[in-house]
């Protein structure tokens, strides 16, 4: 209860609370499309690849947001170019481009001499969120939710059956890159909460957990948002209580929820399946 008391008392904690919950929600939404489109590795790539953009923004003295968006999108395009113009397979071209971007980012940040910033960018520090960062996150959240709400039909059909979508005239390439842009926005918004390295856990884990629990995309998105927000709250609480870094704690919170679903999901859970198999075997045995 001390946490709630502190939450009311300290503004920095309120900012951390709002920011991390918004991040949990939007990572859950975008994560669903990333997971269903088989782009989990892409999520990891974009999150690492914003680093050079952040560094260059820092050098130029502008908001890191702009640089991050540019390098995120350039990475998505670069991966597309290598993938479509060579026999190098999709996962390899993703690994190839993002490791290069990440390496470049680390060198640039070292040159810019901001070692403390590097740790924060890599692992996040939600307790140091400034008011401007919080509002930025809320704005990104509003954009992402609005975009998914307005274009839900198109996102659904192009994720499920891209050929049908193209056949009736949807611009599937445009949809792909729009998702990349949203993914970049979400990643940048998540930098302070979970950091570059662990954004992927917020993107993939709550969405995968929801995937185990439902057969409807709309429900999956709702559940993923809930699990994302819940993980953020648990993570923030635990990291505050035991003075641990917020990113890793939030990441492990998402994993714990996933494990519960993995074991106990009625349809997809490991235990449920085992029970059904045993029941059948018993029945046949008699």
């Amino acid at each position: 209860m001390e946490f709630i008391h502190d939450l009311i008392a300290y503004e920095f904690l309120q900012r951390a609370f709002v920011t991390s919950i918004v991040v949990g929600i939007i990572c859950g939404v975008i994560g669903c499309f990333i997971v269903l489109r088989g782009m989990a590795l892409m999520g990891d790539a974009i999150s690492h690849a914003v680093l050079p953009g952040v560094a260059i923004s820092y050098m130029l003295g502008i908001n890191y947001f702009y640089g991050a968006i540019v390098s995120g999108i350039l990475t998505a395009l670069g991966i597309g170019v290598i993938n479509q113009n060579s026999r190098v397979k999709n996962d390899s071209s993703i690994g190839l481009v993002f490791s290069a971007a990440f390496a470049l980012g680390i060198i640039l940040i070292t040159i810019a001499k901001s070692a403390t910033d590097l740790t924060q960018i890599l692992f996040g520090n939600v307790l140091s969120v400034r008011a401007s960062d919080m509002w930025l996150t809320v704005a990104v959240g509003a954009i992402v939710l609005l975009a998914v709400l307005l274009f839900y039909k198109e996102l659904l059909v192009s994720s499920f059956d891209e050929t049908m979508a193209a056949a009736y005239g949807l611009k599937t390439r445009l949809i792909h890159y729009s998702i990349m842009v949203l993914l970049t926005l979400v990643t940048v918004a998540s930098l302070q909460t979970v950091g570059v390295i662990l954004v992927v856990s917020m993107l993939i884990t709550p969405a995968s957990t929801a995937y185990l629990l439902t057969n409807r995309l709309s429900t999956m998105i709702g559940l993923a948002m809930f699990f994302g927000a819940l993980s953020s709250m648990i993570g923030l609480y635990v990291s505050f209580l035991y003075n641990l870094p917020s990113g890793p704690v939030i990441a492990l919170a998402t994993t714990s929820i996933f494990l519960l679903a993995f074991l106990f999901s009625p349809r997809q859970g490991v235990l449920g399946r085992k029970l059904k198999i045993n029941k059948r075997r018993m029945a046949v045995g008699k």
């Binding site: 269903l36 307005l150 009736y168 439902t214």
Partner: protein, 247 residues
């Protein structure tokens, strides 16, 4: 004058390798048309080119005299089963509902009327009792019927089905061919990529026979003949007799 589907001087290549070479034909609309040819003959590619899904090196496609781009809403496409992620979180009735999206357009949601129409289409293929099942829980034939229902929901004039009869049960095959025939009877045009030679004569009105180049095109009786089939499939006469090719 009856309308036609016209393909003229179509060329397609993948990475510089020619897959379709100078294919031209003209067929009347309102027919059930089989696209036949050996593996790698470019049958699916031809279908995708007719739908403008892949870039072409040259050539024109018109449906009923209209260019493709203005016909998109009148086209329904059923992909090969292998191209679908059957673990996708979607249930049968929502899969059929996707067929109403093209006419709805952007920023409009399916209404009660659209949902009822989707259910009616599901009934036509005899799959309404599975409406709440996730699509991966169905058999291959049932899956194919659901996708046909989705195509019906599109209220299209032109139907394109890529290998709809591969790996499905006899009951589903009968349901599907009956529906395709009744579409034809309503004046719709249906193209089917097909490879089982034994049923060609009872299924189709017209055939497109190809092996990268066009080998034959026209009514089944004119195309489904030993000399043309041998040219396409490179197999000897007696074999073709067994497969039912008319002498």
């Amino acid at each position: 004058m009856p309308q036609t589907v016209d393909v003229s001087n179509l060329y397609i290549s993948y990475y510089g390798k020619e897959v379709i070479k100078n294919v031209s034909f003209s067929l009347q609309t309102g027919k059930l048309v089989g696209i036949l040819g050996p593996n790698g003959a470019g049958k699916s590619t031809l279908m995708k080119a007719m739908l403008n899904l892949i870039p072409r090196d040259g050539g024109e496609v018109t449906l009923g005299g209209q260019p493709l781009t203005s016909m998109r809403k009148k086209i329904a496409y059923v992909p090969q089963r292998s191209n679908i992620d059957w673990d996708f979180p979607i249930i049968v009735k929502d899969t059929v509902l996707l067929g109403t999206f093209p006419t709805l357009g952007l920023l409009r949601w399916p209404k009660k009327r659209d949902r009822e129409w989707a259910l009616e289409c599901l009934r036509k293929v005899g799959m309404e009792q599975f409406m709440h099942n996730q699509i991966g829980e169905l058999s291959g034939g049932q899956q194919q019927r659901v996708f046909l229902a989705r195509a019906l929901a599109q209220k299209a004039e032109y139907f394109f089905l890529d290998e709809p009869f591969v790996g499905i049960d006899v009951a589903s095959e009968t349901v599907i061919i009956d529906i395709l025939k009744s579409l034809r009877d309503e004046g719709k045009t249906v193209f089917v990529v097909h490879h089982d030679l034994s049923k060609v004569e009872s299924y189709f009105d017209d055939l497109i026979l190809m092996d990268k180049e066009l080998i034959g095109c026209g009514p089944v009786d004119d195309v489904f003949r030993p000399e043309l089939m041998q040219e396409a499939y490179q197999i000897p006469f007696p074999m073709l007799g067994k497969l039912g090719v008319g002498m």
